[in-house]
Subunit: 406 residues, 2 copies
């Protein structure tokens, strides 16, 4: 039985992880949880999974959590009362919880960085859903991984697809997958993108794109921010950077392919010209499960993929004019160092401004480009974690300022 610690248990990745743990009670045991502010859901999760420890990022909510747990009737109480922790230190304890075999990092944003590093330093295997870990902090995280031997198992569907296909190589030394070193026999990878909400829109039409338009995704049901990233193709640009660090590939060997049906989740191209692909319905549960069961495959009753039901799969080159964010991401990735951190933070802030209806859809890439351009002056090639966190703050501020100047 595998013991799981879940960082961000009330978020999208966290709740799906716990659903899986519940579906396979003989395989997984939830030993530690951390959450943000959703105490009602957290209490239910504690009742169901009876973890050994629970942390709240916001320490001030601890007394309320304690009270809620104490007020439960005897029948409702969890089997064991968890140890309660709070603040950054509390998160770090959950991330490096002694009895945990796998830490699922579902915390969004730079807040996930420190606990993720704690897990790595404790040598834990990680189901990685926090994208800042590699995109912003790759230069800090990779050496730590090498030192501790902890392994990154990608929890998002594209990198999981690559990871699953790379298990497809007898030379797949698992450590290699998380240290950013090139994999022998691997020529490159093809990340598939649905093309997002505006796949069939012209550039002219994009000028009039509203928030509602941008937040309707054709295939995946996700948060608003990520759905906008999918419409700008920045999500794919960020995945390119993540893939660079995960699989040790040069940027010229990471390609993006528009595939409207989102059935092929990504592909690897081998040096002999053979291509391996992973397919499935668009559902995050499968990649999360694979992180949890790896290296085994569990038996699920989940809906089987029927390609005859899908009928056809299409493939198109992405239009770089229509999706400038894609090129911005490649450029930031190639620059390396702190530049991807600036890109990621600028994008988050620009998308927030768009969702607040303060800027137009086509302003998003402009604001990001401006931030990255400005960052060239303070760019650091080999940054510390503090440098990365400060660039993250700086880029958000720059975007807010630039928004006013628009």
């Amino acid at each position: 039985m595998k013991a799981i610690s879940v960082l961000g248990s009330t978020g999208s990745i966290g709740t799906q992880t716990l659903e899986i743990a519940e579906e396979f009670p003989s395989q997984f045991r939830v030993v530690a949880l951390s959450a943000g502010r959703n105490l009602s859901l957290l209490v239910k999760q504690i009742q169901k999974h009876s973890p050994e420890a629970v942390a709240l990022a916001d320490e001030s909510l601890l007394p309320e959590l304690k009270e809620r747990l104490e007020n439960l009737s005897i029948q409702e109480k969890p089997k064991n009362m968890p140890r309660l922790l709070g603040g950054q230190d509390g998160l770090n304890v959950i991330a490096s919880w002694e009895h945990a075999d796998l830490v699922v990092t579902g915390i969004v944003g730079c807040a996930g960085l420190l606990p993720t590093l704690s897990a790595i330093r404790a040598g834990k295997d990680l189901a990685l859903a926090n994208k800042e870990t590699l995109i912003a902090a790759g230069p800090v995280v990779l050496p730590e991984l090498k030192r501790s031997g902890s392994r990154l198992l990608p929890a998002d569907s594209e990198h999981s697809a690559i990871f699953q296909c790379l298990q497809g190589t007898p030379w797949a030394d698992n450590a290699r997958l998380s240290t950013g070193e090139p994999t022998p026999g691997l020529r490159g990878i093809h990340l598939t993108a649905s093309g997002g909400a505006f796949r069939d829109w012209s550039i002219d039409e994009l000028k009039k794109a509203t928030v509602d338009d941008a937040t309707s995704h054709p295939n995946w049901s996700m948060g608003r921010k990520i759905t906008v990233d999918s419409a700008t193709l920045m999500n794919k640009g960020l995945e390119v950077i993540e893939a660079h660090y995960l699989f040790g590939l040069d940027y010229k060997h990471i390609e993006i392919l528009i595939h409207p049906q989102s059935i092929i989740h990504s592909m690897v191209e081998l040096t002999d010209s053979s291509v391996l692909a992973q397919l499935g319905w668009p559902d995050m549960k499968l990649p999360i499960l694979y992180c949890m069961s790896w290296p085994s495959r569990l038996e699920t009753p989940w809906r089987r993929l029927k390609l005859t039901e899908v009928g056809q799969l299409n493939f198109l080159e992405p239009n770089t004019k229509k999706y400038p964010c894609m090129e911005l991401a490649y450029a930031a990735g190639k620059a390396g160092g702190t530049m991807p951190a600036a890109l990621n933070a600028a994008n988050e802030e620009a998308v927030a401004q768009f969702l607040d209806e303060k800027i137009h859809f086509l302003d998003i890439p402009k604001l990001i480009e401006k931030a990255c351009e400005k960052h060239k002056q303070d760019y650091q090639e080999i940054p510390s974690l503090e440098d990365i966190l400060s660039v993250d703050n700086w880029a958000r501020e720059i975007v807010r300022e630039s928004t006013k100047e628009l």
Copy 2:
């Protein structure tokens, strides 16, 4: 450097194997060859590869081969004169040639059975292109494989695709792939079929199908016999039986899917619902190379797969009314024992009759069904090699007789 012995060096698989050996001179060394009657080509192959030994199936041609080699000018002569062998014993020596690391079995039909068994008994790894080895002789070959530890690497594109995807499992114990035992985590496989020359024909139109119609394949350039098998879908039926023995899967877990573009060469479905696929242009060279380079991947300059060039991939359920051979194959496979040998031989003879314009296209399944039906009387569950060879002869004879009665 890997030393290769090639059985059937002047055939389609053999010549492609030698082309690959020539393309990668630092990887492969050809140490032994066997051929049928094409002495001119064989002499050229000997000049180019300078094997240690050469055998001719037809012993009576040995003096001529010897003379041709002796008559070569000094500049044309191979580096070393090969040892020359003939007949069944000669083939067996080539198949178990001491210095060979891998034996490529490109001999067509039951003639390939004995040398293939010699290779297995000598513990050689095999690049398997001779389909009788498993389809007809599976019950004899599997225990021999277990005994000797020799490994079957499938050289045809569909089984190679499955094999490549199954490397995609950390639990892929290679021995398991050749002993017919179930693979943990594997739910089933999906063999893709182009649908052949008559994919878009109605059953009524099939009544008027000519030899020319049946021998024009949309994607693969192959021999006439195999192209007809592709039009009846018997090729896929036979592959189902081969997959059963290769991957230890129950017939209910082997499915056929019509995929007109022949880009996805086959797929594996894992127990957690994930699907892995292998893709490439329709070209036999890749699966042959993979047998030769396995478990490594070589670097080739071959044309890269561009899915945007293909544009779309389609998938259809096969129509069992239109392709009765498919069901005949499943039935023979499930019966096991000598039944697949009867099916395979009856099919070969029926297709030969069709190519001779002695029967109609739609008579092919009728003749096969009749032979299999008759064979129920003499069916053997655990046959010897002699039993299999005698069933092979018997089924051909039955089809010839039944042809007269049509």
